[in-house]
């Protein structure tokens, strides 16, 4: 008996020793270290990659105004300040256009690193699809940050203008450092070119980017970096994979919101965060802008709605289908990229064709008058004018203002009036580059933008 008990005791000890596997079990079933393509895909299904993209550029853009009383009633100082181009934006909350966009970069890098380090199991094809999406999201995020925090593209200055930190690894111990604008765009293009090779031709939902999304974003980037031939090439590639346009004459103008998020033009769905100042009924569409649409143009009645109480116009034309503003990629934008690029390259007749193909879907068939303008400047002006009227509140206006300010024919002075004080944004003003959040400057030591 005695010896038996002692044997039992040591047996119990050995049971503990021998079960190493006993401690290898996961403490929480929901927790996973990325190891399969399905898991990586799940991380990329996070709506983080489709939502809460920066809206500050849109706040600072034209085509709308807010009333004095409404401006005062906007809760966030950042929004009020962005509207009047004041310096202090993004300092109220740590979750702002800078940090939220870099959060997407970090999440994309988790997948990119895991694939590159060979930690993800799955077929080559699946791994490519996952990596392609992650590269696309990273490029899209970098693009968004560049539009707010770095100077616009300039063929001479971009090689030295400070760009943005290009965080290419999920290792958070690496310090942040601003690269040049040119290097930043180069990274975006490289990522997108790789992504366009890797991505699927078709995805089951427009929430997930396919090859076409990479082509579309490439054409957008080539346009704003003034590489018009590439812009045409990639808009062609985009349109080849689907060039359907909605016929606006078939859409009921009496709906609360005119479009659905699954409409045929959406290539890839993403939305901006929704600041109070851009939400109805505070946002009032500029009546002069609405008057600039021609008589038979179907867009005003699908895009804007009259508030009979104060006879102002609200926006109801988001391709997301709600008051939330769509800023993703869509076929109509690609038509404009192609038309503009062709025009700038002097291929006026091709440019006209592309423009007319689009515009023909924006008028009742019996009233459509094709554009016939023979002059390059005039045609370009018309394309840009139509672009402005088509791509409203899509997060594109800010980028357009920045790039077109370089051309005397197209540059604009924007004015706001709040409480009898006038605010003016001149072309190429320093206010076209936002201040990086003070907290980021403090914690990373990167260089602040001049103001």
């Amino acid at each position: 008996m005695k010896t038996n008990v002692i044997i039992l005791f040591f047996a119990l000890i050995f049971i503990n020793f021998s079960c190493k596997d006993y401690l290898d079990i996961k403490p929480d079933k929901k927790l996973v270290v990325l190891s399969t393509t399905a898991e990586a895909q799940a991380l990329l299904n996070n709506i983080l990659f489709n939502t809460a993209y920066p809206a500050s550029g849109e706040i600072a853009s034209d085509h709308y105004y807010v009333k004095d009383t409404d401006w005062l009633s906007v809760r966030a100082l950042s929004e009020r300040n962005a509207y009047i181009w004041a310096k202090d934006v993004f300092n109220e909350s740590p979750r702002n256009d800078w940090s939220l966009t870099y959060e997407k970069v970090y999440n994309a890098n988790l997948v990119i690193d895991a694939i590159k380090e060979g930690k993800i199991e799955g077929s080559l094809q699946d791994r490519n699809h996952v990596l392609g999406q992650a590269l696309f999201f990273r490029a899209y995020s970098f693009y968004q940050v560049l539009q707010l925090f770095a100077k616009p593209w300039d063929s001479k200055l971009s090689a030295s203008d400070p760009g943005i930190p290009l965080r290419l690894s999920s290792d958070f111990n690496r310090p942040s450092k601003r690269e040049t604008v040119a290097r930043s765009y180069q990274q975006i293009i490289e990522d997108l070119l790789t992504a366009s090779e890797l991505l699927e031709s078709n995805t089951p939902t427009n929430v997930r980017p396919a090859k076409q999304a990479a082509y579309a974003l490439l054409s957008r980037i080539y346009l704003l970096t003034e590489d018009y031939e590439k812009a045409v090439e990639y808009s062609d590639k985009t349109l080849k994979m689907g060039d359907n346009l909605m016929d606006y004459s078939t859409i009921n103008p009496n709906q609360q919101f005119s479009f659905s998020q699954n409409n045929v033009e959406v290539i890839w769905l993403s939305i901006m965060n929704l600041p109070q100042i851009l939400n109805s009924p505070i946002l009032k569409v500029d009546p002069a802008f609405i008057r600039s649409y021609t008589e038979n143009d179907l867009r005003p009645q699908l895009f804007y709605t009259l508030n009979t109480v104060d006879s102002t116009y609200a926006f109801k034309g988001s391709y997301f289908g709600l008051n939330i503003l769509f800023n993703g990629l869509s076929v109509n934008e690609i038509y404009f990229i192609k038309a503009e690029s062709l025009a700038r390259l002097g291929k006026l007749s091709d440019a006209r064709d592309v423009l007319n193909r689009l515009l023909s879907k924006r008028y009742p068939p019996d009233t459509f008058q094709p554009v016939v303008s023979p002059d390059k400047t005039e045609l370009l002006a018309r394309i840009l004018d139509e672009r402005g009227k088509e791509l409203v509140f899509r997060g594109l206006r800010w980028t357009d203002l920045r790039r077109l300010n370089k051309e005397d024919e197209f540059k604009r002075v924007i004015k706001r009036r709040i409480n009898a004080q006038e605010y003016i944004l001149n072309p190429n003003d320093n206010a076209y580059v936002f201040q990086i959040p003070e907290e980021v400057i403090q914690l990373s030591g990167i260089e602040q933008n001049n103001r």
Partner: protein
């Protein structure tokens, strides 16, 4: 206490029964205590210096001189007994030892793994005995420890609860480890019936706690339930008490008057603040006053009518309605019956308890049934089998949670009505504007209005819990001095929640309407008519197995050794899930299917496009631990004791290399009982002992991982796919926190225990503490609440302090006076923080969150420097580079050195002072609790949240209104638009910091003992008052320093009860 045992060395009975063994000088015998229990470990010495020690059955053998000899029986906690023996002895000796009445020395310290007499202990312990536990009347054991031990209770809203010797960790689990009947307890503390508790031992230093290894860094509370004893007469104990509590003081929190609140609304209305809401087609909530103003502006209401109706609103105060319709006096009942006793080879205890508590919020209550059965059997001499079975069944009815009675995302405006003059339920704003709900759907939708008073009576929300604890152990004396112990515990806790929203409830009506679509004359309802049933289940199963060898021996009188070595394996699994059923009919138990897949446009797109809400959620967690431990205590000459312990814990910490999963922890200690030295001659101090210990314990944050982990969820809102979110950024350097503690203490008692006490000094160093640091947001790394922060081993901490308990006890004739002063002094400083921020704002707060600065306590109060109010505008002024400044953004993001440091947010000194008076059958006991040397930040008006969320504060009436006011107030002027940073600066400024020091009259117990005091039948009647109130505080505001940011002080409870023993 029993006064009849105050004389020394009473021989109750030494019986000589003839000659046992001729020709031998060996005497055999057995020792029992005065309650007829065998006494083990008693040291027996003959005049010839032969020694022996009694075994667990109280048996001993000793060699004696031929002729006359005297045996000395010596055991701690018993009077020393000298027994003359004459050789030859006719029969085995039967010796009865008398327990000393002295509480201090009677104590056997139980760590859960082993028990040692106090005299041999080197560490720092505190025992709360049954009398002290039963002095308070609450249904939760933990509440009964408040003021009874040097355990600090943090009662602030959002604070972490109890701590022993100050906080030892920064972000890892800060709670002490709870051991019940020798095994870590995973269930809810409220499942333990305090009437079943024999004692609670607080293990404070490393020598005491390190046997528990990981998580012992925060201290350990060892709870021992009542057991029967061998050879004990059957005893029946019945306890019953009733507690009455008053309604909470709803007027405690400083609130704006209805008049002031409406004045603000009028001002904002005039400035157009509400215009966008009034024009918003998503119809956000509009307050009644603003509706009236809008109706007046649009000509629908005359000026006279407006004034009349606003005037009527002004007279209302929602606190009256809340007090009348939602609160009541609380009433708690507690009954407990226990039966225990024992024979020579079997003992038992059976208890049953019933608690029924009626909350001071109407329709909220909870009840608890506890059953406890403990049995020990000695089937054969060397074997002891223990079997413990505990069962608790509880029901918690929670029909109302008070903050839910307010518009979504807002506070209740002060002039809200919950019932009209006739007591009929009034409509309150909830999610949408009432004017919209009047016409929404033209009568085709369900009624869409929210009436809190009706909801109160329709609510049906409760949870039931079951807790089963089976604890079985065997102890087998393998050979002399060597005992094998094995123990296994199975604990099952199941909590099932059920919330039923009938179709009549707002929750159901709102969801049905929200998804409804009216097409022509039909209403399409994706969320079907009928009720909604939410069920939740949470099952926790914990299993612990342990095997242990105990070696207890003594030799040559001078040496005694107790040693254990053991291994433990432990697994805790938690499985929980929530489900929802739509279209549920409570009468027939049928339900409807819904389409969770498609996205529906909500009614009028009020909430955009949504899928039907499906809160289904499943969780499975599993924690495993394997531990090896050993502990040895050696005592030389009864006065020099040494101890050491070591333990290695390994767990299934996720993604940590196997070798890092484990951590070795150890301790060593020594003690010296000076008063036992032959040369000790003090006439004043009868008992004097010093102790010293040093050791390491550990702590871990199970939510962290060395690898980057993601967590999975269902139904991504846009695509409907499963998705994952980053949960934890990988940290390959993740390590266990380690806590080094040095303790030195003295225990002393004067003659007759008039004055006695213990004083401990401790030093503790925490290394590799897990903390959170601000991280460059460009990295994109966020914590679990989406802030750009990173958790890791970032800090070192150093703490020191004093723990003391001083007792005074004196009898004058029939009056016995005794006092106990518990004193705790605890300071900690962050000595290294690798993650400090160079921005000031994260450090400014209420002191409930940890934002360490090197050289300052973990919980500290920091403020922005205050430079008064601008005499022209009433704007608050701070300081920027030595100048008064309104650049709030710059002030808040300047260096942390610019902050004003007030002091600790946790009392540096705390404790209690308890006085007892006993006179014949009466006794009175009063307990004061004091907390000193700390600061708190009070709330004030915040215009940003006043405008947007109706968070109001009475400081509004003291605001700056005209030049000159800056001399009499520091409350900034109202500005429109509100400037967030201006409000944040003021909220974080030094003018709102108050001293927290206060003394509270915690409780009072008056009791009367009926029946014969000498006999076994006792009846105890008592009156108990708790939360009597603050008797002194250092701050001049009307705030209770424990309840300053939203909480309401606990109301006075009055209990009457009786306890009978038969």
């Amino acid at each position: 206490m029993n006064l009849r045992f105050t004389n020394k060395c009473i021989v109750i009975g030494v019986l000589f029964h003839g000659v046992y063994a001729y020709g031998q000088t060996i005497v055999k015998g057995n020792i029992v205590s005065d309650d007829k229990l065998p006494v083990a470990d008693c040291i027996i010495v003959s005049t010839g210096k032969n020694t022996a020690i009694s075994d667990s059955g109280g048996r001993f053998e000793i060699e004696i001189k031929k002729g006359n000899d005297t045996l000395i029986f010596n055991l701690l906690g018993y009077e020393v007994l000298k027994v003359p023996v004459q050789y030859p002895v006719s029969r085995p000796l039967r010796v009865e030892l008398v327990r000393r009445s002295n509480d201090l020395e009677e104590v056997v310290i139980n760590t859960g793994y082993f028990a040692l007499p106090r005299e041999r202990i080197t560490g720092s312990f505190e025992v709360i005995n049954r009398n002290l536990i039963n002095r308070s009347v609450t249904s939760n054991l933990l509440d009964r420890l408040e003021g009874a031990a040097s355990v600090y209770f943090d009662r602030r809203a959002g604070a972490s609860g109890v701590s022993i010797r100050g906080r030892s960790t920064i972000l890892a689990n800060p709670n002490p480890l709870i051991i019940v009947d020798g095994v870590p307890y995973d269930g809810s503390f409220s499942s333990i019936n305090p009437n079943d508790v024999q004692n609670v031992t607080v293990l404070k230093d490393a020598a005491a706690a390190s046997i528990w290894g990981a998580r012992a860094a925060n201290g350990v509370l060892v709870v021992e339930t009542v057991k029967g004893k061998f050879n004990q007469k059957p005893m029946l104990e019945f306890t019953s008490n009733f507690t009455y509590g008053s309604k909470p003081d709803l007027y405690y929190n400083p609130a704006m008057t209805s008049r002031d609140f409406m004045a603000v609304e009028k001002e904002l209305f005039a400035k157009g603040y509400y215009n966008s809401n009034l024009n918003d087609v998503r119809y956000p909530v509009i307050s009644p006053a603003v509706e009236l103003l809008a109706a007046h502006r649009s000509g629908r209401l005359t000026s006279q009518d407006l004034e009349a109706r606003l005037g009527a609103l002004e007279k209302q105060d929602v606190r009256e309605d809340l007090g009348r319709y939602f609160y009541r006096n609380s009433f708690d009942q507690q009954y407990s019956l226990s039966y225990r006793g024992g024979m020579s080879n079997y003992n038992y205890n059976l208890s049953v308890g019933w608690d029924e508590n009626r909350s001071n919020v109407k329709r909220n209550s909870n009840s608890r049934l506890t059953l406890l059965s403990a049995n020990s059997i000695k089937p054969v001499n060397k074997l002891l089998v223990e079997m413990l079975l505990g069962f608790t069944s509880g029901e918690n009815v929670r029909n109302v949670t008070m903050p839910s009675i307010s518009p979504t995302g807002k506070s209740l405006y002060p002039y809200a009505r919950l019932a009209d003059d006739d007591g009929n339920a009034s409509v309150l704003e909830k999610d949408y504007r009432i004017a919209f709900l009047d016409s929404a759907g033209n009568g085709r939708l369900l009624d869409w209005k929210y009436r809190p008073l009706e909801e109160l009576y329709m609510a049906d929300n409760s949870s039931r819990s079951q807790n089963l604890r089976v604890n079985a152990g065997v102890k087998y004396d393998v050979i002399k001095d060597l005992r094998f112990e094995a123990r296994y515990q199975y604990e099952l806790q199941e909590i099932g929640g059920r919330e039923h929203f009938s179709e009549k409830t707002y929750t159901a009506r709102n969801l049905i309407n929200r998804y409804s679509r009216i097409s022509g004359s039909t209403v399409v309802r994706p969320v079907p008519l009928g009720g909604i049933l939410d069920l939740s289940s949470n099952v926790l199963i914990s299993q612990t197995g342990r095997s242990q060898l105990n070696y207890n021996t003594s030799w040559k009188l001078n040496h005694s050794l107790s040693s254990i070595i053991g291994t433990e394996i432990r697994q805790t699994s938690g499985i929980s899930h929530n489900t929802r059923t739509y279209g549920y009919d409570n009468k027939t138990l049928v339900y409807q299917n819904v389409n969770y897949t498609d996205i529906f446009a909500t009614y009028n797109r009020l909430n955009g496009n949504q899928r039907i809400i499906n809160p289904a959620d499943f969780n499975e967690r599993l924690n495993r631990y394997v531990s090896y431990y050993t502990n040895t205590a050696y005592t030389y000459r009864d006065r020099y004791s040494f101890s050491m312990s070591a333990r290695k814990d390994a767990s299934n910490l996720f993604g940590v290399n196997h070798n890092k999963k484990g951590v070795p922890l150890w301790s060593a200690g020594a003690s010296w009982e000076i008063s036992k030295e032959p040369y000790y001659r003090s006439k004043v101090i009868d008992y004097l002992k010093t102790r010293f210990s040093y050791g390491v314990s550990g702590n871990i944050d199970n939510s962290l991982s060395a690898l980057t982990t993601v967590a999975f969820y269902s139904n991504s809102p846009l695509s409907g796919y499963d998705y994952a979110m980053m949960r934890n950024p990988g940290n390959p350097d993740l390590r266990w926190e380690r806590q080094y503690m040095l303790n030195t203490g003295i225990d002393f008692a004067s003659k007759n225990n008039v004055v006695s006490g213990t004083v401990d000094l401790f030093l503790k160093n925490g290394d590799d503490l897990i903390g959170e640091s601000l991280i460059d947001p460009t990295t994109g790394v966020t914590n679990n609440v989406g802030l750009f922060r990173f958790k890791g081993n970032v800090a070192h901490m150093r703490g020191y302090g004093i723990d003391a308990a001083l007792n005074f006890s004196k009898s004058v004739n029939a009056l016995k006076v005794s006092s106990t002063l518990i004193f705790g002094y605890s300071i900690n400083r962050v000595t290294r923080y690798m993650a400090s921020s160079n921005v000031a704002s994260p450090y400014v707060g209420f002191g409930t969150l940890v934002n360490p600065i090197e050289g300052k306590p973990v919980y500290s109060i920091y403020s922005y420097k205050w430079a008064g109010l601008d005499p022209l505008t009433g704007d608050p002024l701070g300081e920027l580079e030595g100048q008064a400044s309104k650049n709030y953004q710059a002030i808040m993001s300047s260096s942390p050195n610019t902050l004003v440091y007030h002091g600790s947010a946790i009392p540096v000194y705390f404790g209690s002072f308890r006085n007892n008076f006993e006179y014949k059958r009466w006794s009175i006991s009063a307990n004061m609790i004091y907390k000193l040397g700390y600061y708190f930040r009070r709330t004030s008006i915040n215009y940003s949240t006043l405008f947007s969320s109706w968070n109001h504060h009475s400081d509004y009436s003291r605001r700056w209104q005209q030049p000159g006011d800056e001399g009499i107030t520091y409350v900034p002027s109202l500005v429109y638009p509100a400037i967030g940073p201006r409000d944040s600066f003021y909220s974080g400024s030094e003018v709102l910091v108050e001293r927290g020091d206060h003394i509270r009259f915690h409780d009072l117990n008056v009791s009367y003992q009926a029946g014969s005091p000498a006999g076994n039948k006792k009846i105890h009647l008592y009156l108990y008052l708790r939360n009597i109130g603050i008797i002194w505080k250092a701050n001049n505001s009307n705030l209770d320093p424990d309840f300053y940011n939203g909480g309401i002080p606990s109301s006075l409870n009055i209990s009457v009860g009786l306890k009978t023993t038969i």
